[in-house]
């Protein structure tokens, strides 16, 4: 029998973080994952993460995965891939399929970090080839490097739907629209805004009536729904698409725990069917822990911290660290977790309409309904100020746990303060040197460098750009508004690309000065 101090199921952010923590404390650790690549969903995430430095903010998801994996290997963690855990039995014994045999493995403790699976919705034609999950789209384009489709409709405006829509465009697909039955966008406003400004229309209070096609999807019809989610007649809209992408939420993948006999509860606040756990993540079976999405749907950043707590908890459970050491570790991690669980998108606010920011500012209703902040709304946010000369304009309008911009500006122009969900403000009397670090480090791509008046009736706007082909200096085109509609003529006057920008190109466009606060994207003609 292969015996370990701790057996971890799932090499995603929670599982790997737990493994690292446990190995640091001197434990013999093995991690099993059914995929051929470790990192769980991190390996499909190509956007920069939110949070603060200790949450690995502004690092792209797949890089975080690589970092965690390297750290785990360096600490001697055994990571077994293509390893399907079949069952978890009494005495903390697992059966695992590795290659062409079944292994029996025992741990003195077990951490289940199996993550989540995608929810689905039904509509006429939902079984047609071409209707896929958002995770499938990510797997195909970001891992397999194959475009899932050419013209795509996205259903779901949560962070997954928003992020995947953006990624689809980065992969060269056309997103014809983003649809959600809810009356408001579910994900971060900044994620929505970066999709909206490219010209993707949002259809809130809409859902899919039918996927059309005989052998595969050739079109889709959507229609508006009322408060009870019933179709409103004669509101149908048709799109020619070859792919429909579903991003309607995640559910904890707790089957292994349920099969093992753990007490299971259905908790909508935690995202579905989850194990009953104590404050350290231990299930009803002593020595069996749950960490990450399997015990409640949250962001990957939270999963990493939960993993660390879980790794510390098993270390103490088996005597590798003292109770005091555990308490110290918990204190640090809980503080980090707590900071991530603040703000408008905190678990306690799930499903609620938050109308004012923590600062008491009215939230942009346009952002919630159309995906972009309207020109007349933007001025009320503290990151948006007017000055002579170049200065940052931070169109960050919701309290989300994120602060890399504050750190990015070495000149101290940007301040968020100790509460990482506060809106960024422009520090008075600070001087911007046009380095562009704030633009590149904003995970929400919500920071622009603006010189409102060059003196010749023109202005410049520097914006983040992560698409190909990358326009060259001198390229003429249109400046697009926050809503993605052309507002003015524009010319690219500079393209900056530095290693520190981590693939976020800085495009500076010249626009008539009355569009300095309106043009937020560039489209070559």
């Amino acid at each position: 029998m292969n015996r370990y101090d701790v057996v971890i199921v799932g090499a995603g952010p929670a599982g790997l973080s737990a493994a690292i923590e446990a190995a640091k404390n001197g434990m013999k650790v093995v991690v099993f994952d059914e995929n051929s690549k470790p990192g769980g969903q991190l390996f499909k995430q190509i956007h920069k993460f939110f949070g603060s430095k200790e949450h690995k903010a502004k690092i792209r998801g797949f890089k975080i995965g690589e970092e965690l994996l390297k750290e785990a290997y360096d600490l001697g963690v055994e990571v077994v891939l293509n390893a399907i855990v079949l069952s978890l039995h009494g005495e903390k014994e697992l059966t695992v399929k590795v290659n062409d045999e079944v292994r029996h493995v025992k741990g003195d403790a077990v951490i289940i970090a199996t993550g989540a699976s995608e929810n689905m919705v039904t509509f006429r034609g939902w079984t047609l080839p071409g209707v896929i999950g958002a995770g499938a789209a990510q797997t195909m384009m970001n891992l397999n490097k194959v475009r899932p489709g050419n013209k795509i409709l996205m259903l779901g405006s949560g962070n997954v739907g928003l992020v995947v829509s953006f990624q689809l465009m980065q992969a060269g697909c056309e997103v014809v629209g983003l649809v959600d039955a809810a009356p408001r966008i579910g994900g971060y406003g900044v994620h929505a805004a970066k999709v909206a400004r490219t010209g993707v229309p949002f259809y809130l209070s809409h859902t899919i009536v039918e996927a059309e096609g005989t052998d595969h999807v050739t079109g889709v019809t959507i229609a508006q729904v009322d408060e009870k989610f019933q179709f409103i007649p004669e509101t149908e809209k048709h799109f020619d698409v070859d792919t429909i992408c579903l991003a309607v939420g995640l559910s904890p993948m707790s089957q292994l725990l349920k099969n093992a006999g753990c007490k299971i509860v259905e908790d909508p606040k935690r995202g579905g069917v989850v194990p009953e756990v104590d404050e350290l993540g231990m299930t009803s079976i002593p020595g069996v822990f749950a960490a990450g999405d399997v015990s409640g749907i949250e962001e990957a950043s939270s999963a990493m911290i939960e993993g660390r707590i879980s790794g510390a908890a098993v270390s103490e459970y088996l005597g590798y660290i003292t109770k005091e050491e555990l308490e110290e570790k918990i204190k640090v991690n809980e503080a980090a977790l707590d900071s991530l669980r603040q703000g408008m998108f905190a678990p306690k606010n799930r499903g609620k309409l938050v109308e004012k920011t923590d600062e008491g500012i009215d939230v942009s209703m346009n952002l919630l309904k159309k995906g972009f902040v309207a020109d007349e709304e933007i001025e009320r946010f503290p990151g948006v100020t007017h000055r002579v000369g170049i200065h940052p304009v931070m169109e960050c309008t919701q309290n989300i746990p994120c602060n890399p911009c504050q750190e990015a500006c070495k000149k101290g122009c940007i301040s968020i303060g100790s509460n990482i969900t506060s809106l960024p403000i422009v520090v008075e009397n600070s001087s911007c040197i046009n380095c562009g670090m704030c633009v590149a480090s904003c995970s929400g791509q919500a920071i622009f460098l603006v010189d409102e008046d060059l003196g010749d009736g023109m202005a410049t706007v520097t914006l983040p750009y992560e698409f190909i082909p990358l326009p060259k200096e001198g390229t003429k085109g249109k400046g697009l508004g926050r809503d993605g509609k052309p507002v003015c003529e524009a010319e690219v006057v500079s393209v900056k690309n530095m290693k520190a920008f981590d693939k976020t190109n800085l495009l500076t466009i010249k626009v008539p000065k009355e569009y300095a606060m309106k043009a937020r994207f560039f489209k070559a003609v």
Binding site: M1, N2, E34, I84, V85, L86, S87, T95, K97, D100, E101, V102, R103, H104, V105, S117, N119, M120, V121, T122, F123, R124, W126, T127, S251, M253, S254, Q255, L256, K258, N259, I264, E266, P268, G272, V273
Partner: protein, 109 residues
């Protein structure tokens, strides 16, 4: 005294709906209408439904449909989805060839 598990509890008549032919369980091809009708046959739990219709018993083992089935049953039975038990989970977590399953001798003991 209220006994909620009385199987003669009135849930009303079966009323056909236009989308009754939509598949819910993709693997076993079980429709919404079949699930709704089964409720009127007295099928009141997720476990009974699986046994009665085979929904969730296909290759994917209900990973895609169990939440959907639960919602449909709850509406039909006029209860909250939280009143229905979580779907059964059975090993193996993924389908495994018998020949491979049979080969577990290497490190047993």
């Amino acid at each position: 005294m209220i006994i909620s598990n009385d199987r003669l509890r009135d849930i009303g008549e079966f009323i056909p709906q236009p989308d009754d032919d939509i598949l819910i369980c993709r693997c076993e091809e079980i429709t919404k209408g079949e699930i709704r009708r089964a409720c009127h046959d007295g099928i009141f739990t997720m476990e009974e439904m699986r046994r009665y219709l085979r929904n969730g018993m296909g290759l994917c083992q209900g990973q895609t449909c169990s939440k959907l089935v639960k919602g449909i049953m709850a509406r039909e039975l006029k209860i909250s989805p939280l009143d229905l038990e979580p779907a059964t989970s059975r090993a193996p977590m993924r389908p495994i060839e018998m020949e491979i399953y049979a080969r577990d001798g290497g490190n047993v003991g």
